[in-house]
Subunit: 506 residues, 2 copies
């Protein structure tokens, strides 16, 4: 379920979510067809009972020695030694780095790559929850932890990486597996963490597989306009259907036009079958924008949600006086399923239960308001969206208003780098795979060209966000996806054999 | 003046210093002959006026987003562009990372390697003060900053590295010198920082020269007994003079024997011409221990302080009933000069003014009580000292008593690594020089064998602590020292030419 990683949560909708309370939260999480690729044709070699759930006593602050920093909390992690070759043979450890969400109750429904490949590598599996998500909450409770910036302050990527290091060192020690090579694996934000972990803790992890990790999305790094998030969304639609792209492109002014008329909002509410009357035109526009965005982000086989939308748009006939909105609505219901009405109060279109969704959105909102700033403006040259330039200042103001501390948009690139990445990592670092599907709008912020022999990019023309991390499915996986995963496995195998040779040698 | 870097400050003496106030602070800082190698025969290409003093508005906490963490303070740095080739030619930047002491008023009296070599490289020089030393004090004043663990909590190596990164990124931006390669240089603790900086911030620094950096001194890393600090001190003495070594070795029981007699302490006070009567036998023993320790640490040409002490010990004739203590005292005065009396209240034998010494000792005491734990026990196999096994628990207790927070002795190896360093860095990282003189007792915790083609060890049989960082002196520098520095310069030149080739290529 990679549906929500790095979900682009526009501040406007977050304002709505966070200020309006649970009563108006969306109720249509179950409908998304875009995640069918998660279904398994190959039975998993693991079942939930093969995993032990453990809790590590974690320090609140690794980089500070104030008395408060010594506070601890219980961090959750899962472990399975079902196929592990053991410490004596220095068999490897595959570690899935939890991203911005709670761990799944059944770890085999996620972590596809790890689950599918651990047996052949005789790898121990470890899955670690990211601090402030799920059960890994400091200060005794979620309410306490999320109270304000004073309690949220400890919630950031550097602390999370240090958590992983502490836990992995602890596990290796406890198992006497100090020489077992660790491979860290993650997707999306978790992929960013994986690559950063290899860079910052090479003594803990031998290598990293970073799937769909937009490590170059930063206000400090200029990426070409055609690689911007919404430019790729638009390209995905245009590649799928030029007429669909054109329909969407012209729909915004249609919507505005209707909205500006007498009873316009009410007319739009009817056209889009909204469960509650629209309170502003922006509500339906940002809902649609996010629907297209998400479809493109997960435009993966076998369903290809962009095709689902575009087929509906293209196949719907509208008379000239019906405008294009009949088509647009047809696209929306094709994607979201046939409901009696549609909740467009928020833009969150993901399939997790509400409570998990709350955690993700509140946690990620803090992270984007403290250090993770993705410059995702729309400059409309070639996109199908109304212009909406990136505005760092207004993001900072809004976050300040919320948390009373300022976003630090430059810290991530100060700490992890990224500027001139090909130059700075060319002769430094090793054993990182950056994998990307080029239909993923986040791929524009990814590393798409190998930096050196051992810091490599694996890309596919088709496929979108983090598809290589999903469970294998013999029935529906296309050839290029099978090949992509094989390439990744082969590279990891190469790291390990070099490592074992070094081990004999040193 | 590398006299105090990583000065080994036994807790007992620190207790004395910190609890007794300024009135009993030692007054004999000016006498040490061991630092004559600092004197210059080659006139420096720089004078103090070639440096601009600047202050950077630094964040109090880089790894935390609590409101308090946004507090800023002024961090001092010096800059000289006298010989800089400029941003247009991407001329390099040499950065001296301030260790555990205030910056010198005249930067040309320190930073020998940087000062001597910057002109031939057309390098910009930057010298940055470490937070909580000198003027780079948060909370408005030293008194406030050192008040308790709540204000001291922000004082640690990871924060210091982040400070350097922020300042260097700022400088490069301001000068439009984003492509100018940065070489970080440091000695002792500063050398640890330099190597760590290259590992953690490869996108900011192209390479690091880490002189006498005991990066492997950690409770988590086992080093062989003969490489322990006091084993090397003892070897230095034994290599210099077997009889001197034997004299010192047997002196401890002589001291104990006298002390145990009626009026023994008073008799010892007379024998050692102490300015104030000894209050315990440990006082004189730890004073002597530190005197030998320091002589060995700085057993550098042209003076070779171990020889100074041993010559005096060996050449002093004592009648059988005078015991060996007449010899020991002769060694002491040979090293410390002829004074009317000797202050043995503390073990601090360095040549800085008292106020600077206070800053160093108080700052370093915090650092050793929070994260830097050097396991420096004496197990007395082959050493000339009374046994004094390393006791982590008592260090932790003592620090707890002082600051009410616990030492975190494992954090440094968790964050920076070191365990199995040859294995973990063999195929990761590049462009680090670890330089050591093997007479340096800290060299046992250094990297003495090259890890890879680009992470290299440069060692000399002779020479002790951080000698390569001292200013060149044509008149007295021995051949091996000249050669050592040439090797370092050649390696750095190699990094730079590879970098410029990559720059043309990428």
């Amino acid at each position: 379920m990679y549906s929500h990683e790095l979900a682009f949560l526009p501040f406007l909708s977050l304002l709505i979510i966070l200020s309006s309370g649970a009563s108006v939260r969306p109720s249509y999480f179950e409908t998304l067809g875009s995640h069918e690729y998660q279904s398994k044709a190959i039975p998993s070699s693991y079942s939930v009972s093969d995993f032990k759930t453990l809790y590590f006593t974690q320090s609140l602050d690794h980089f500070n020695y104030r008395p408060e920093s010594y506070t601890t909390f219980k961090q959750k992690y899962l472990i399975s030694a079902k196929y592990w070759g053991g410490a004596n043979s220095s068999a490897p450890i595959f570690v899935y780095l939890g991203p911005e969400k709670p761990l799944e109750v059944d770890p085999t429904t996620e972590n596809g790559f790890v689950i599918d490949n651990a047996p052949q590598f005789k790898a121990l599996i470890v899955i670690i929850e990211h601090r402030y998500y799920g059960e890994s909450i400091p200060f005794g409770s979620r309410d306490e932890a999320f109270q304000n910036a004073s309690t949220l302050g400890y919630f950031n990527s550097a602390q999370a990486l240090a958590d992983y290091a502490e836990i992995l060192i602890h596990i290796k020690k406890r198992l006497g597996a100090q020489l077992s090579p660790v491979i860290v694996i993650g997707a999306s934000y978790g992929g960013m963490l994986a690559s950063w972990f290899r860079l910052k803790y090479p003594h803990v992890a031998l290598g990293a597989l970073a799937s769909s990790a937009p490590v170059l999305l930063s206000p400090d790094i200029v990426i070409p306009p055609e690689k911007e998030y919404f430019a790729i969304v638009s390209k995905d639609f245009r590649d799928t259907s030029e007429s669909c792209y054109q329909t969407i492109k012209r729909s915004w002014s249609e919507i505005d036009k209707i909205a500006s008329q007498r009873n316009g909002l009410s007319s739009l509410s009817k056209k889009f079958h909204t469960c509650r009357p629209l309170s502003s035109v922006e509500q339906i526009k940002s809902h649609l924008k996010n629907l297209y965005r998400e479809a493109a982000q997960y435009d993966n086989p076998p369903t290809y949600p962009v095709s689902v939308i575009c087929d509906a748009i293209d196949q719907t006939h509208s008379s000239p006086n019906e405008t294009t909105l009949k088509k647009i609505f047809a696209g929306m219901i094709a994607y979201r399923g046939n409901n009696s009405c549609y909740n467009v109060d928020t833009t969150m279109l993901v399939s997790d239960p509400i409570s998990i969704q709350d955690q993700i959105s509140e946690g990620w909102f803090w992270q984007t308001c403290s250090e993770i700033e993705f410059p995702m403006g729309i400059n409309n040259n070639g996109t199908m969206f109304p212009p909406s330039p990136f505005n760092l200042t207004s993001d900072i103001m809004l976050c300040n208003m919320f948390y009373n501390v300022s976003l630090r948009p430059h810290w991530v690139s100060t700490y992890y780098g990224g500027q001139a990445i090909r130059l700075t990592l060319r002769r430094f670092a090793s054993n990182v795979i950056f994998s990307n599907g080029l239909r993923d709008p986040f791929s524009g912020g990814g590393v798409l060209h190998s930096i050196s022999k051992n810091v490599v990019a694996v890309t596919t023309e088709k496929g979108a966000h983090a598809l290589d991390m999903a469970s294998e499915n013999n029935a529906t996986d296309p050839v290029w996806l099978v090949k992509m995963r094989k390439t990744e496995v082969k590279i990891i195998r190469g790291w390990l054999s070099k490592y074992y040779a070094d081990l004999d040698d040193v």
